[in-house]
């Protein structure tokens, strides 16, 4: 399963977008802001 890192401030939009990706069989990692996103990218190494 391919990994996607999603950075979105708005919770609702982030959750909905993640759900849509998950329906297409992606693993979605979410971050709330840029700094958080970089940390998560280094940790989970998205494709």
């Amino acid at each position: 399963m391919k990994k996607i890192l999603l950075i979105e401030y708005n919770e609702d939009i982030g959750n909905n977008t993640a759900e849509i990706q998950e329906l297409s069989n992606y693993t979605v990692i979410m971050a709330k802001n840029g700094k958080n996103g970089v940390q998560k990218a280094l940790k989970f190494l998205p494709n």
């Binding site: 708005n10 609702d12 939009i13 909905n16 977008t17 759900e19 849509i20 329906l23």
Partner: protein, 554 residues
């Protein structure tokens, strides 16, 4: 007898001396014109020896050509003798022994001696005075001609003067008309700065009469000192005029034919001040030497006022433009976020078809509801602003219990707080007030939701209401992110968002609405805030009298 005889002898001696030494000719003739005595002066004048004329006829001394005429005249005179004094005497031409002629004036006297009539003639040689007379006459004639010439010249000059005078008059009238009717103040000064000309406009505008100023004062009388000091400093630096006197510095430009135009504040006699545009030029005589300076000043207060108004209008326009772009950026962000949620949630509900997905469907339906509510709130805010702008917000004061009302509002808003956020409320003073409850609710809701929105989770919001001395004071305090000093200036503007609030949803209308509603209820909105140190909002209302009466009646 003796004294009488000697007296007679003395008198006759006197006569003899007179006769012999008189500086005029004396000839005595008898009735027929025969010379009986002639004095030495007359002999000398006529060129005869002592006895030569004795017994000769008087006609001997007259040129032959006048002879008959003279004889006739003498005979006539003898018939009717009378004294003819010198002044009125008769002019004759007399003849010397050598036949030469000379003019004489003769005055005649008559006397009787021993029954016989004698004529005594005093003869005055007037050839010299005649000559002089002629000379004088000639001179007079010349003088007359000259005088006439001069008179003609003078007349000519007068005529020319009259012409040029009338031209001059015209020029003066024209000049005066110009000076008096010019809409500008025209003031001239001499080399020392003393006023020499002060036109009507200057008099009207400054309140001084020309007589008060001309010859007495320099324009410093009606110039604001700070203006001239500023100009002196500027010119000194620009043209390197250090050490020169003030007047020389101020007139430097005009003296050197550099265009000199500046704004000045003028001080009227009554002390009031107005702004003028002053142009100074040097006045030069025919040789080009500067003899003074002329200043023409026009009142530009009106122009300045118009300029100010224009600038204000431009600022408003710029502000409006800024407002528009703020609205566009707010709208594009604040409308798109809930719409995206609505769209994606609807898409997902479509995807969840199985019965076990019911929980997910409900979650997304909830998201759609809250997004639509958010959009409604934004639209309501916009509507409120629109109504405020149109002045269509009705204020309907009613009597209500303040503490109950605020507690109710807090309960209503509590579900919208972040997790672990708490509200602490305290009231003091009278409880019944006369205010518009719906407007107060909007204010309170806005302030509490702001306090919640800009504060972290797990924080407290402190609300206080006090009624004392007819004043209702409501404060909402949070420990949130605060507002920077720069942003505080714009806080009440429409669509304004603090720099540190960019990532927090909001329209930038809340506080604008709060301040306008407070205004509508005759209240004031104040705030104290420091970045990262929280914010305190205080609204103060002056309460109407009857609310207290009701309160005390309760």
């Amino acid at each position: 007898m003796q004294p009488l005889t000697s007296n007679i002898i003395r008198q006759s001696n006197h006569f003899e001396a007179f006769f012999n030494h008189a500086a005029m000719g004396i000839i005595i003739t008898d009735q027929v014109g025969k010379i009986t005595a002639i004095n030495p002066y007359a002999l000398n004048e006529f060129g005869y020896g002592t006895e030569e004329l004795s017994g000769k006829k008087i006609e001997t001394l007259i040129p032959a050509r006048f002879g008959n005429h003279y004889i006739y005249k003498r005979k006539k005179y003898t018939e009717q003798p009378h004294n003819l004094p010198m002044r009125t005497g008769i002019d004759f031409i007399a003849m010397k022994k050598d036949g030469s002629e000379f003019p004489v004036q003769v005055s005649l006297g008559v006397y009787t001696h021993k029954g016989a009539n004698f004529t005594i003639a005093f003869i005055n040689n007037i050839s010299i005075s005649k000559k002089t007379e002629l000379e004088i006459k000639k001179r007079n004639e010349e003088l007359e001609t000259t005088v006439q010439q001069r008179a003609r010249d003078l007349k000519q000059i007068l005529k020319q003067l009259e012409i040029s005078g009338s031209k001059l008059d015209e020029a003066i009238i024209f000049q005066n008309a110009l000076l008096d009717n010019a809409g500008a103040m025209i003031i001239a000064v001499d080399n020392k700065g003393i006023v020499t000309l002060f036109n009507r406009t200057a008099s009207l505008m400054l309140g001084y009469s020309p007589n008060e100023v001309i010859g007495r004062h320099t324009p410093a009388l009606f110039q604001q000192k700070s203006d001239s000091d500023k100009k002196i400093k500027l010119l000194t630096e620009k043209f390197d005029l250090y050490g020169k006197n003030k007047f020389d510095i101020l007139t430097y430009k005009a003296k050197n034919n550099i265009h000199d135009e500046d704004e000045y504040h003028c001080v009227r006699k009554d002390g009031s001040i107005f702004l003028v545009l002053l142009t100074v030029t040097a006045i030069r005589n025919a040789n080009g030497t500067v003899t003074g300076f002329a200043g023409i000043a026009t009142d530009i207060s009106e122009r300045k006022k118009a300029e100010k108004e224009l600038r204000l209008a431009l600022e408003n326009e710029t502000g409006l433009n800024e407002l528009k772009s703020r609205f566009v950026s707010m709208a594009s962000h604040e409308f798109r976020t809930p719409l995206s949620t609505v769209l994606s949630s609807a898409y997902l509900i479509e995807k969840y078809t199985s019965a076990e997905d019911q929980f997910k469907r409900e979650k997304h339906l909830q998201r759609i509801f809250s997004s639509v509510n958010m959009l409604t709130d934004i639209l309501n805010d916009l509507l409120s602003v629109g109504k405020i702008e149109e002045g269509k917000v009705p204020v309907k004061p009613t009597l209500f219990n303040l503490e109950e009302f605020i507690n109710g509002t807090i309960t209503e808003i509590k579900i919208n707080l972040k997790s672990q956020q708490t509200i602490c409320y305290h009231h003091s003073g009278k409880q019944i007030v006369l205010l518009d409850a719906s407007l107060l609710k909007m204010i309170l809701m806005n302030l509490i939701s702001n306090a919640s929105k800009f504060s972290p989770e797990n924080s407290n919001i402190e609300i206080k209401s006090t009624v004392e001395n007819n004043t209702f004071r409501l404060s909402v305090k949070d420990d949130g992110m605060g507002i920077s000093a720069e942003d505080q200036k714009h806080l009440k503007e429409r669509f304004f968002r603090g720099a540190n609030a960019a990532n927090i949803e909001g329209t930038g209308l809340g506080l604008h609405i709060v301040s306008k509603y407070a205004e509508l209820m005759d209240g004031t909105l104040e705030f104290k805030s420091k970045l990262r140190k929280g914010t305190l909002f205080i609204i103060t209302f002056k309460l109407k009298e009857d609310s207290n009466e009701k309160d005390s009646a309760d």
